[in-house]
């Protein structure tokens, strides 16, 4: 068990790779024992952030502290962090036992103790029957467990996972996700998890940071990020499909779209005359009256229907729980659930609370 530490603080972390500005002044606070996800599309800086935390990249500017100690320029080995790489980075010439035991060997643990400790870690991820195999003789899932065991054997202060599930097939990914969560609970170690899969981040993380173009655009719980997106960037990224975003006018507590008035609950902040209205596809209904929309395509998703429509040329997606095929080219009327409507300021691009 860890000693209850593992608070990570990043301040103004900046990183260039040649002309590419990978991280644009990242600030981040991760609490002890938190399961924290770094979510973003590829090239958004989430993996670079993880590598800075690991000490594999040195930032151009900014500082990083762990439990109040500045480790910005500390070597990876001095940080007491363990990492699972996307491709697992197992040593192909060593057995599972030797792979898991390698960190102990480097740490000066007496040779006689290593097999026992390695087996202990392996049993936590249920591969203790494979100790004498080599990575090449393991399945993808077993390799991943071997990498996990190598990471937990040393009882690190931080546990870093770089897209650990992306090389597994869909079924195994779901199982492993649950197991990772369980492992995190039993280890009680601050865990930082990089993923581009928002469903993964949503289900597994206590809190998450959403990365876009080298910046963090929102930090919060999955509930915050999904239900209260801070800004247009997050609104357009989170959700599958993401939120519909429609330009609208705001008058007397109501939004006006395509000439239709939509009454909204009052806001605490002042609302400008021009806004962007955001609503999730599942909060749009087809009604007898409402905003006129032209159907472009209806997709059968099995459990639901996804209607792709256009309101004055702006694409709008509607998720219907009942299977109701709608002819392409038909005009339908859309009703928005006022309580689920978000308003964004097109100037600042921020959500209006």
């Amino acid at each position: 068990m860890s000693d209850g530490k593992g608070r990570v603080t990043l301040r103004g972390i900046d990183k260039h790779f040649g002309a590419f500005h990978a991280l644009k002044g990242i600030d981040l606070d991760i609490a002890p024992q938190e399961f924290f996800a770094l979510l973003g599309p590829s090239g958004s800086g989430k993996s670079t952030t993880l590598r800075v935390i690991a000490g594999l990249e040195t930032p151009d500017a900014g500082t990083m502290t762990v439990d109040g100690v500045d480790v910005t320029y500390a070597e990876p080995g001095e940080r007491n962090v363990a990492m699972v790489f996307q491709n697992y980075a197992l040593y192909p010439h060593m057995t599972v036992e030797q792979n898991i035991g390698f960190p102990l060997r480097m740490d000066g643990v007496p040779k006689a103790r290593i097999p026992e400790l390695a087996r202990e870690a392996a049993s936590k991820v249920k591969i203790d029957h494979l100790m004498q195999r080599r990575p090449g003789q393991l399945s993808g899932g077993q390799q991943q467990r071997c990498a996990l065991a190598r990471a937990i054997v040393r009882k690190p202060r931080l546990f870093l996972l770089d897209e650990p599930l992306s090389n597994l097939d869909a079924q195994l990914r779901l199982e492993t996700r649950v197991e990772l969560k369980r492992l995190h609970r039993s280890l009680d170690v601050t865990t930082i998890y990089v993923t581009h899969d928002q469903e993964e981040a949503m289900t597994i993380a206590d809190r998450m940071a959403v990365f876009l173009d080298g910046d963090i655009v929102q930090v919060g719980t999955p509930d915050d990020v999904f239900n209260r997106p801070d800004n247009l960037a997050v609104a357009a990224f989170i959700g599958s499909p993401p939120m519909n975003l429609l330009p609208a006018r705001f008058e007397d507590g109501a939004a006006i779209i395509a000439g239709e008035r939509l009454a909204l609950p009052p806001r605490s902040a002042p609302v400008p005359a021009e806004v962007v209205l955001g609503i999730r596809p599942s909060h749009v209904r087809i009604a007898d009256t409402g905003i006129p929309a032209k159907v472009v395509l209806s997709e059968n998703l099995g459990e639901s229907m996804l209607i792709n429509a256009e309101v004055e040329g702006v694409p709008v997606k509607v998720r219907l729980s009942e299977m109701r095929p709608i002819a392409e080219g038909a005009t339908i009327r859309l009703a928005f659930d006022g309580g689920h409507v978000h308003l964004f300021d097109p100037q600042t691009r921020r959500r209006i609370a």
Binding site: R79, A82, A89, Y91
Partner: protein, 285 residues
């Protein structure tokens, strides 16, 4: 005939292929075959014209080449010492150099890499005189250290160039994982990288040893009576008055033997060594 045109075409292609391969093989192997034949003849038989197809084979030439007055055995030992030392030193220096080229971000890496390749393009004959003058000045003519240093000048760039491609094939993440596990750079190289490039090291050892063993140009100019590799010693059988063709052939075949043995034993590695980099998987950054 039940054969369809497709099969017939394939058969024709097969015949042509075998004919071409057979011809090439014949051209390549004939001199060796001829050396074997000559080495089993007596010196007078060798000069018979037209050559006798049927003759009484003798092993006298081999005996003379091994234990006669012009025995090549001491030179054999000399060649072993020179080739062995060259190989050991080359590997000891080339492995860290290749690692640095493959992994470290160092200033002037490109220029150094280019220089390393350029040394392979200089015709050796252009270097004989400078080397001779330099070794003469430092008193290293006809010494082991002189020969080994000269051989290092061409084996080292070659070995570095070969090893780099092996090292680049190892994903960087493996070393990064080792660094996170508290390994320092040397430990990562020793425990993680080297075991994975064993095949590459084997290939490099073989090529460097082969090149050093077969070297003649520098050996004949920079060696002497004390340090005379086997490639030069064979010329004991060539004099102004006569050439002892049968003994020369026997000596040449004996000198070839270690290379043939190594070649057979390491055939697979050698082919792999020649094709490495052709299907490169990893190795960015």
């Amino acid at each position: 005939m039940a054969r369809n045109p497709h099969q017939a075409a394939r058969l024709r292609r097969g015949i042509v292929l075998y004919a071409v391969v057979g011809l090439l093989l014949f051209v390549w192997a004939f001199p060796i075959f001829w050396a074997v034949v000559v080495s089993l003849k007596s010196e007078t038989e060798v000069l018979a014209y037209p050559p006798n197809i049927i003759f009484e084979p003798t092993v006298r030439n081999y005996r003379d080449a091994l234990v006669g007055g012009f025995s090549i055995l001491p030179s054999f030992a000399t060649s072993f010492i020179i080739s062995g030392l060259t190989t050991v030193l080359t590997i000891m220096l080339a492995v860290p150099c290749a690692y640095a080229f493959a992994r470290l971000r160092l200033r002037g890496k490109k220029a150094l890499g280019f220089y390393t390749l350029v040394t392979q393009m200089v015709p050796p004959v252009g270097l004989v005189i400078p080397y001779f003058l330099i070794l003469n000045r430092v008193g290293w003519l006809d010494t082991y250290q002189g020969m080994v240093v000269v051989y290092l000048t061409f084996s080292l760039p070659f070995a570095i160039w070969l090893m780099v491609s092996y090292m680049e094939d190892i994903p960087c993440e493996m070393e990064e994982a080792a660094f996170l596990d508290k390994a320092n750079r040397f430990q990562a190289l020793w425990h993680v990288v080297l075991p994975q490039v064993r095949g590459g090291i084997a290939v490099t050892v073989i090529f460097v040893f082969l090149n050093a063993w077969n070297e003649f140009l520098f050996a004949v100019q920079l060696g002497g009576n004390d340090v005379r590799p086997v490639t030069v010693a064979m010329y004991n059988f060539v004099s102004v008055e006569q050439t002892l063709w049968a003994k020369l052939s026997a000596a040449a075949l004996i000198a070839m033997l270690p290379m043939i043995i190594i070649g057979f034993a390491a055939q697979r590695q050698i082919v792999k060594g020649l094709t490495v980099g052709a299907v490169k998987g990893g190795g960015r950054r």
